[in-house]
């Protein structure tokens, strides 16, 4: 390894150092606020060294990793989302008894794994990153140990994620058996062979690989875990699962598929297109009749990943910026909406049931306004980032003539509006639900309000003046 490699690895190294520092701090002194501050400092330092690392890209770092503008964008997104989760976690666990400090450690480790995924260009790095992320997530999901549903969600995620990791490993093994290398590029050379002569082993390996990826992205039919895990996990962790782990996996999928000539392999496009269409239809339909906000958002995230997959399959000139813009908009909206849920929860009960939000506008108008903005963004209504994102995805799909997928997207997202608006209507309904008065001051409220304010401002900014980001993204190549 050369000097340049180390410089390019700076973000990962700083993040890893932050993990170690937080671990040592917890060993030396348990202090909730201090741990959160150190975590934030570590994440901020990671962000701070990024411009330095950017000076050396694009660069291959050993056989495993690569750093380019595409990866760096997703790393930035992951780190920012982790910062938001940290702040939300601080607000959420503020009043709790027991050990709260390890939460931040696990968050940092998970973020590290996600960053590795966003940088990987080799199946070994893929698997390492995935496992770092997943193992931290098992613990995070089940973090409130006294809660039965959290434990259940953690176990469920553990079993299913381990199973999907098995598929993934077997897929990698088949790929290796066929190509003799674990580099992502091997897939492209293998598929470049014209139709009839393509080895079955390669195709089987690819299919198994997609099972593993589909599980992480919660694409239909690998979505079974989503609703339960979203519901059972504490709200900040749900925000993390919905944003960071999705962002990392989307980055990886783009890296995996971008070198392929998708137009020459219609079978692959059709298979993935079927996954996308199924996700859009099933996700939106299942969300319609849920009684829990977290479950609604879970099913809606299935649909959203279906939309993203449409853009990925488009593979036209517009697809990379479309995917990145969509993920940024999606991340903002998910952080904001789970942020509201986190801040509205108490130690006894998660703010999950729809009734908890009855007439929220009259009690806590700003929180209701923020949640409304977030939901409208997820629904793709103008003035929010989600509108531009959806437009961009449709643009990318239309550019590559994926008309049946675009049409599915159009119709299912029309259906999807129904459940977002249903929540919004409940927020503004006249009779407020009787509930305990929330805290109105203190650092916990401040940290939560900070996240909500920043995400809302960014959401509206990207929704009205997206040019600066669009211009930035247009020069990015995976």
């Amino acid at each position: 390894m050369h000097f340049a490699d180390f410089m390019a690895l700076l973000p990962l190294m700083v993040l890893a150092a932050a993990c170690a520092a937080v671990m040592l701090l917890i060993a030396a002194r348990r202090h909730h606020g201090l741990t959160a501050i150190l975590t934030l400092a570590g994440l901020a330092a990671t962000l701070a060294v990024m411009p330095e690392a950017a000076r050396w890209m694009p660069i291959r770092i050993t056989a495993l990793l690569t750093l380019d503008s595409f990866g760096l964008f997703f790393i930035a997104l992951i780190v920012l989302a982790t910062m938001a989760t940290t702040l939300l976690g601080y607000a959420y666990f503020h009043a709790w008894g027991g050990h709260r400090e390890e939460f931040y450690l696990l968050l940092l480790i998970a973020a590290l794994g996600a960053c590795v995924l966003a940088m990987s260009r080799h199946f070994a790095a893929f698997f390492i990153g995935l496992e770092i992320l997943s193992i931290a997530l098992y613990a995070l999901i089940a973090y409130p140990r006294q809660r039965a549903d959290s434990l259940e969600a953690g176990i469920k995620y553990l079993v299913l994620a381990a199973g999907s990791a098995g598929f993934l490993l077997f897929g990698m093994a088949l790929l290796y058996a066929d190509r003799g290398t674990l580099d992502f590029a091997a897939l492209a050379t293998g598929l470049a062979v014209p139709g009839q002569e393509r080895p079955l082993v390669l195709l089987a390996g690819l299919a198994l690989l997609m099972v593993g990826v589909g599980f992480k992205l919660a694409l239909v039919p690998f979505h079974m875990w989503t609703a339960d895990v979203y519901q059972g996990a504490p709200a900040p962790v749900t925000a993390f699962v919905a944003t960071v782990s999705k962002c990392a996996m989307v980055a990886l999928l783009v890296r995996l598929l971008a070198p392929l000539d998708l137009a020459a392999t219609p079978a692959l496009v059709n298979a993935l297109g079927a996954l996308a269409a199924a996700s859009m239809v099933v996700g939106n339909l299942l969300a319609l009749r849920q009684q829990s906000v977290k479950r609604i958002l879970a099913y809606s995230s299935i649909a959203h990943l279906g939309y993203v997959l449409v853009a990925i399959l488009a593979a036209g000139p517009a697809f990379v910026p479309a995917v990145m813009f969509y993920m940024a908009a999606y991340t903002l909206a998910q952080l904001g909406s789970f942020g509201v849920i986190a801040l509205h929860s108490t130690q006894e009960t998660e703010a999950d049931a729809l009734e908890r939000f009855h007439g929220l506008f009259h009690q806590r108008p700003w929180m209701a306004a923020v949640l409304t903005a977030m939901l409208l963004s997820l629904a793709g209504i103008p003035l929010t980032a989600g509108f531009i994102g959806k437009f961009y995805v449709i643009l990318a799909g239309a550019q590559s003539h994926l008309w049946w997928l675009v049409l599915t997207l159009v119709i299912t997202s029309g259906i999807g509006l129904f459940y977002y608006l249903r929540i919004v209507v409940i927020l503004f309904s006249p009779t407020p639900a009787a509930q305990a008065a929330p805290a109105t001051s203190g650092p916990a409220v401040f940290s939560g309000a900070l996240v909500l304010t920043v995400t809302t401002l960014l959401l509206v900014w990207l929704g009205t003046l997206p040019e600066s980001l669009v211009q930035l993204l247009q020069h990015v190549t995976p």
């Binding site: 029309g414 503004f428 040019e467």
Partner: protein, 512 residues
């Protein structure tokens, strides 16, 4: 900048209403009223001199504003107003004031949020009438939907949830189809010319293969036909109108439906002249079916509000008939019809709202003999019923007459059938008055007559509709250059080059 001011003023008024309304409901009302009044003053002072003395430089546009918005994707912030837009802007602001006035007492709860939504619908409508960039147009098109949805679902009547969701699903899915068509047109134009832009003036005259042109045209057509509403996609309208609060019905009938008509005139035919010509017979038949079917259903309603709602289907059928005939006289008729339908149907909804406030029912079978109790209300109802049936001297007559004359040379049989719709209109219009105000009282109602505020609202509407019936020339004069431009546009007239908006690079660079 004036056009931005026109759109931003209601947005600010709405925000103020939402913020102030939590503590002081009165302040919410006043901020809405003042914002709209200022907006109207701005429009009158700013636009009318331009109508009187148009500058010779900017084509048909009396005032134009072009700024870069998302140049990387060829999206510009392009607003412009021609005579057609000016008339519709004034109609919007006038009916907006009527809507605020008639919700002054009706809305007792969540006043701030109500006026917020009302103002934002109006801002979206103003944007729709002035946007000249297709992306911007779609932006406003969507922007006006959400607040309208809230107006229905939060302040509507018994069955409001069903109605609001039906309304929203219909318009939303149709709108997204239009978005797909807009993007399709963007790529067709971009591949043909190398200029990727959403600018309307640049996209005019894009050469299209027949099949593709038809598909894209249908994408636009469906969105506007749902709004209009045309048979058979009108089914959301009776529910939405019936369940919406009075203000919502006035805005729906008076303005939202007009955005559909405006879209047909501004976009469907000029952008896709060939496809529109091929499709015209189908559209015209649908329009006539709408006219007759709407009138028939109106006559069989017992719910007064639903009755008025179905008359909208009938009246707006005339507009679609005229648009697809696409000659000067028919288009002028369509414009007059748009305005007069907005005024007269808006007024009828206001009257139904007043009756409901007094009687707590909209059931025609329970009314009767109300004239003795409320002669002034009855008088106004009579007047607007006569307007609705097309009595000479009132505006609707001018509109329908011009449409029938304009369409006749092109489709005599359809014109005759449409004229039969007028007969039906006189039956159901007189039926309203007869059932509600004359005859014997079926129940012992004790109601008060119009208050000063209510009389002022109806008086203003009356003045407007009489003026249009007696002297519609200023409207026709204002719109003539705009309509002429629309009719010439498809013929390959050199479109003015958009400045600084379109990206002039190849597709790869433009999107990468």
């Amino acid at each position: 900048m004036m056009l931005i001011g026109l759109i931003v003023l209601p947005l600010i008024g709405g925000l103020l209403a939402a913020i102030l309304g939590r503590r002081y409901p009165g302040a919410a009302r006043w901020s809405a009223l003042v914002a709209l009044a200022l907006d109207l003053v701005l429009a009158l002072a700013g636009l009318l001199p331009l109508v009187a003395h148009p500058s010779q430089t900017a084509g048909p546009w009396l005032v134009e504003l072009q700024m870069a918005w998302i140049p990387s994707l060829g999206i510009g912030f392009h607003l412009a107003a021609d005579g057609l837009s000016v008339i519709l802007i004034l109609l919007t602001l006038f009916l907006g004031l009527v809507a605020v006035a008639c919700s002054w007492r009706e809305i007792g709860e969540r006043t701030g949020f109500f006026f917020f939504n009302l103002m934002w619908v109006l801002a979206g409508i103003l944007g729709v009438f002035t946007a000249l960039d297709l992306f911007l147009f779609y932006f406003f098109w969507e922007l006006m939907m959400v607040p309208m949805f809230f107006l229905i679902i939060l302040w509507g009547h018994e069955n409001r949830v069903y109605a609001a969701i039906k309304f929203f699903l219909f318009t939303q899915i149709a709108g997204l189809l239009m978005l797909a068509a807009i993007i399709g047109l963007y790529f067709v134009h971009g591949r043909a010319t190398g200029v990727y832009t959403f600018d309307y003036t640049a996209l005019l005259g894009t050469p299209l293969p027949a099949g593709l042109g038809m598909a894209l045209m249908l994408g636009f057509f469906v969105a506007f036909a749902v709004k209009l509403p045309a048979f058979p996609v009108h089914v959301w309208l009776p529910d939405a109108h019936t369940e919406a609060p009075t203000t919502g019905s006035v805005i729906l009938a008076g303005l939202l439906l007009k955005t559909g008509a405006y879209g047909l005139m501004r976009f469907v035919v000029p952008l896709f002249p060939e496809a529109a010509r091929t499709f015209a017979p189908v559209a015209m038949v649908l329009a006539v079916v709408g006219i007759l079917y709407g009138a028939l259903l109106a006559f069989s309603q017992t719910d007064l509000k639903r009755l008025v709602a179905y008359t909208s289907v009938s009246h707006m059928g005339f507009v679609m008939l005229a648009v697809f005939a696409w000659n000067e006289m028919a288009l002028q008729g369509a414009l007059i019809q748009i305005i007069c339908h907005g005024l007269s149907t808006g007024a009828l909804f206001v009257i139904v709202g007043m009756l409901q406030e007094r009687l707590h029912t909209r059931d025609l079978r329970r009314m009767g003999g109300l004239w003795n109790q409320a002669p002034r209300l009855g008088g106004f109802a009579m007047l607007f019923a006569l307007a609705s049936l097309g009595l000479p001297g009132l505006g609707n007559f001018v509109g329908e007459f011009l449409i029938l004359i304009g369409v006749f040379p092109q489709a005599p049989v359809l014109t005759i059938l449409a004229a039969a719709g007028l007969v039906a209109a006189s039956i159901y219009s007189l039926w309203i008055v007869q059932q509600a105000f004359h005859g014997t009282a079926r129940e012992q109602w004790r109601i008060r007559d119009l208050t000063g505020r209510e009389a002022a609202i109806l008086g203003a509407l009356t003045a407007a509709i009489v003026w249009l019936g007696v002297y519609p020339q200023p409207v026709i004069q204002t719109a003539r250059p705009a309509l002429e431009y629309l009719r010439q546009a498809p013929a390959g007239r050199p479109a003015p080059e958009p400045v600084a908006v379109s990206s002039r690079q190849g597709e790869h660079d433009a999107l990468r």
